[in-house]
């Protein structure tokens, strides 16, 4: 019996060893993976207790958490909610939905990013409750307010930034109140959300960096001109034939200039004048001459076909491969297959203003630890060199004349050299035009780069022009920023 008993005791030992093993696996080896499992409610409830960091723009606190006394511990509150909505997005723990910067900077705001590990440990040891870091933005409340006020009543977006990539303002209209979607009252949130989704004006779209992309229209001529100058075969004074109408290669369709006439007097026109007067026919010919590859290469140096992490992800603006010369011709004046976001068009101007270097756009200035002990600054980084500095100077000069003596006169400001370019884009055959303005000021040492896009013709249908609608809006924002 004794021998059997000893064997039996070994069996029992093995059983217990199996249990030691399985519990070790769950509680030590596999514990982190289990913690990350989306079905793990404990991890979720733990995250609720963290006091989320605030989001600041300049001196303004635009998103902050206040104690809420319910299961979720904190209520996220937004200041000037519709104005800052495209920037902050919203976070709703009840519905587990998060958008905008709340999502893109979630790790830092909730204190769970790997760089915050040491401070987390410190807090555990000292027994303090967990907190997230604050995020300071590059956005300027003055610029944001000016842009938001100027955009009221229109459907569109404005992006204002520095030539080195820091975004000063990002506004979309119509917008929505993020506080209603951040509420803990599930029924109220669902009703509000459904209303927003059903709204035909799509207030949930961030038209500055996404949504339904529009053709850039004549603002794309900046890209074509840059491509022409960069090729070495053209200068601003190179002459292009100047007919009043021009057939698209291989088709019966005709291209017209905006006033249905020629581009100024004369049988041919310079690139500088064609840009200044914003004529379609010279640029159509130029596009065909340069070819799809050259224009696409130039466009991609400005950031086309690329998605940027602001850290919010922007939709890529599109300049595709085109095999058909007719389509290339159309793309020469920003129609056809070209689509762009206001951010992208602003980046075109920013590259020109920045001596020819396209910088990565960014919204975050710094991440600050909750006890102010550390401040991690974000540096501006270079995307690509779009053109040589001397060509950038030539482009600047052309754009200054465009405002002072050309089709973008609506943006003239007394005493300041404003460089600019308007755009008036056709969408569908019967649809109202989308109007644009992009530019920077002061031209010599730019402090602000701006792109304004108004969909829906600004209420003027197919009578709308960029100069009449978009340019004055840009002027207001530039004045607000420069005038302080």
């Amino acid at each position: 019996m004794t021998k059997e008993l000893r064997r039996l005791s070994i069996v029992m030992l093995v059983m217990f060893l199996a249990l030691f093993g399985s519990t070790s696996y769950i509680q030590a080896i596999h514990a982190d993976a289990l913690h990350e499992n989306p079905h793990n409610r404990r991890a979720l409830y733990d995250s609720f207790e963290v006091q989320r960091g605030s989001i600041l723009a300049g001196d303004a606190v635009i998103a902050t958490s206040v104690p809420s006394g319910d299961l979720y511990s904190w209520q996220r509150t937004y200041a000037d909610a519709p104005m800052w909505a495209p920037v902050t997005g919203y976070i709703n723990p009840v519905l587990a939905s998060v958008t905008g910067l709340e999502q893109a900077m979630n790790s830092e705001l909730s204190g769970t990013s790997s760089t915050q590990l040491l401070s987390r440990l410190e807090r555990v040891i000292s027994g303090q409750p967990p907190r997230g870091s604050n995020v300071v933005l590059t956005l300027d409340p003055v610029a944001q307010r000016a842009a938001y006020d100027a955009l009221q009543g229109y459907q569109g977006a404005i992006v204002a930034m520095r030539p080195t990539g820091e975004i000063l303002a990002m506004v979309t209209s119509p917008s929505f109140d993020t506080n209603t979607l951040a509420s803990h009252d599930t029924d109220a949130v669902e009703t509000a959300y459904q209303q927003l989704v059903d709204d035909p004006a799509n207030p949930l779209y961030n038209r500055a960096i996404g949504g339904d992309l529009n053709p850039p229209g004549s603002t794309f001529k900046l890209v074509v001109a840059a491509a022409a100058l960069a090729s070495g075969q053209y200068t601003p004074d190179s002459m292009i034939p100047n007919p009043a109408t021009w057939p698209l290669p291989g088709s019966n369709s005709l291209v017209y200039n905006s006033d249905n006439g020629t581009c100024g007097p004369g049988a041919s026109v310079s690139i500088a004048d064609a840009l200044r007067l914003s004529c379609n026919i010279p640029f159509a010919q130029l596009a065909v001459a340069l070819g799809n590859d050259a224009i696409r290469a130039q466009a991609e140096k400005f950031g086309f076909n690329t998605s940027f992490e602001l850290p919010i992800e922007s939709a890529p603006s599109s300049y595709p491969r085109l095999s058909d010369d007719a389509r290339v011709a159309l793309s020469g004046f920003g129609q056809g297959d070209v689509t762009a976001t206001p951010l992208q068009i602003a980046m075109v101007s920013a590259a020109i203003a920045n001596g020819g270097v396209t910088m990565n756009p960014r919204m975050v200035e710094a991440v600050v630890a909750p006890d102010l002990s550390s401040r991690t600054e974000v540096e501006s980084t270079q995307f690509q060199r779009a053109m040589e500095a001397n060509i950038a100077a030539q482009m600047t000069a052309m754009m200054v004349r465009d405002v002072s003596d050309g089709a973008a006169s609506g943006a003239t400001i007394e005493g300041i050299d404003v460089a600019g370019k308007t755009g008036t884009a056709e969408r569908g055959e019967d649809d109202p035009y989308t109007v644009w303005f992009t530019g920077f000021a002061p031209a010599a040492s730019p402090e602000i780069v701006i792109a304004v896009m108004i969909e829906d013709g600004g209420g003027m249908g197919q009578q709308a022009t960029g100069n009449e609608i978009a340019a004055p809006i840009a002027k207001k924002v530039i004045e607000a920023v420069l005038g302080r």
């Binding site: 008993l5 005791s9 249990l19 399985s22 519990t23 509680q27 793990n40 409830y45």
Partner: protein
């Protein structure tokens, strides 16, 4: 031996008894008991501090009664069973105390107080259980008397198992194992039946071990029993399957059959019995998983617990327990600081993951080691004992406990499919607590007899 010698032996024994011999075992036990009381008190205090931030008067209420009763048991042992094993009672005390602390913690989380609280009921049942143990220790002076009533215990065990089917007594719970008396309290007779059946198995095997260990056909290097010896084993197997099918109590069926196979192997020494037994278990499990829907559901949950289809319905409890364990990590969240209440039935089926969440892997290892030591004491009695009945009984009870812990903890950690057994001493459940303390009393009695009997020296 002449009457004179016998009389003088007895008088010598009585004289020896009157000598003030140091009660080594009992002193050891007292030291361990004081340590156990401290652990229990500490657990209750931490629960109160962790949940409310203050320790209040009700603290004494939770650990005082238990400690007092265990002290009474200790005193009874000093008088009646001096040489009983010193580890068994302290371990049982710590486990019971930890169980009560965790159940109390869960009551706080669920905001249950008074008679609605599980901890109050558990305290009452603990009192009943320890009292039952005291009674057994006092009145069962010689455990061999159980041997006389082998078949009676077998019958009693079977009747107790069948009790829930008596109309008017049975309740409509998930598994048909509950009996309700006067609508006041519910009881699982199956828990007591297990002890009765263990006594029956031990007695039966002692009586028939000769024929069971006899010559049979040799095959593959082992002696296989003859067909007629298989008869009783088949009966037990069918009875276990019957329990599983009719009462839907997977765990008890598995436990009974496992205990029987272990005891028959120890009694006969023939490995062939083990192979037959294991094959029957596997075959039974296979058949059950195919033909019984709730069994196949358990198998699905075991193999594929994190499948998105199952994770929100049938495997939700199992997965929640596992998440809780993971949340505890190595050091645990601390008593009162975790969220064990997120798992349904956290005070009964999932008491172990609840403790694991708050005490961590360290606590889990400690509890498993306590169980290991407890069951090893039983095996030790088996090895040291002189008569086969005592050896088999101690072995059977210890192995049953170890198997029960394995089945339960293995189920919640996905080593095997989950069944409906209770975790001994820890889980909220009066019948299980009473049964386990009766096992404690039996082990005390057998160990006392083993130690105090003078060893036979031949030659």
């Amino acid at each position: 031996m002449t009457a004179d010698t016998a009389a003088s032996d007895t008088s010598m024994l009585t004289a020896l008894r009157r000598l003030r011999m140091p009660q080594t075992q009992r002193n050891r036990e007292l030291g361990l008991l004081l340590f156990a009381f401290a652990i229990n008190a500490g657990a209750i205090a931490l629960v109160q501090w962790g949940t409310n931030g203050v320790i209040d008067g009700s603290f004494l209420y939770y650990c005082g009664g238990l400690s007092a009763l265990v002290l009474v048991l200790h005193i009874v042992l000093r008088i009646r069973a001096r040489d009983a094993d010193p580890f068994v009672v302290p371990i049982a005390t710590v486990l019971t105390g930890l169980g009560i602390a965790m159940i109390y913690r869960l009551d706080i989380a669920e905001e249950l107080t008074g008679w609605g609280a599980y901890s109050t009921r558990q305290l009452v049942w603990a009192a009943i259980a320890i009292t039952a143990a005291i009674v057994v220790v006092i009145f069962l002076r010689n455990y061999r008397v159980l041997f006389r009533y082998t078949y009676l215990f077998g019958l009693a065990g079977l009747l107790l198992l069948l009790l829930p089917f008596v109309p008017g007594l049975g309740t409509d719970a998930n598994a048909d194992v509950w009996v309700q008396v006067g609508g006041l309290f519910s009881f699982q007779p199956g828990e007591i039946a297990k002890i009765a059946l263990a006594i029956f198995f031990a007695g039966y095997l002692v009586r028939t071990r000769e024929s069971l260990a006899s010559v049979g056909t040799r095959f593959a290097g082992m002696t296989w029993p003859r067909a007629r010896e298989l008869g009783p084993v088949l009966v037990v197997w069918l009875a276990s399957l019957g329990i599983i099918v009719l009462q839907r109590d997977l765990g008890t069926g598995l436990l009974l059959f496992g205990m029987f196979v272990a005891m028959i192997y120890v009694a006969t020494g023939k490995t062939s019995w083990v192979i037959i037994g294991v094959t029957m278990i596997v075959a039974g499990a296979f058949v059950a998983s195919r033909f019984l829907p709730y069994v196949s559901a358990r198998f699905d949950n075991w193999l594929d617990a994190f499948n998105p289809d199952l994770i929100d319905n049938s495997s939700m409890q199992l997965v929640s327990g596992i998440f809780g364990l993971a949340e505890g990590g190595v050091l645990g969240t601390g008593l009162g600081r975790g969220r064990p209440d997120l798992t349904p039935l956290a005070e009964s089926d999932y008491i172990f993951p609840s403790l694991g969440e708050e005490l961590g892997l360290v606590g889990v290892f400690a509890i498993l080691c306590l169980y290991m030591v407890f069951t090893s004491r039983g095996i030790r009695i088996g090895i040291a004992g002189q008569d086969d009945f005592g050896k088999l009984l101690a072995t059977g009870l210890s192995f049953m406990l170890a198997l029960q812990v394995f089945i339960m903890v293995g189920g919640v950690t996905r080593v095997i499919p989950l069944t409906g057994l209770t975790t001994p001493f820890l889980a909220a459940g009066g019948s299980s607590l009473v049964a386990n303390w009766v096992i404690v009393a039996l082990l005390l009695r057998v160990s006392d007899a083993v130690r105090s009997r003078p060893r036979v020296v031949i030659g």
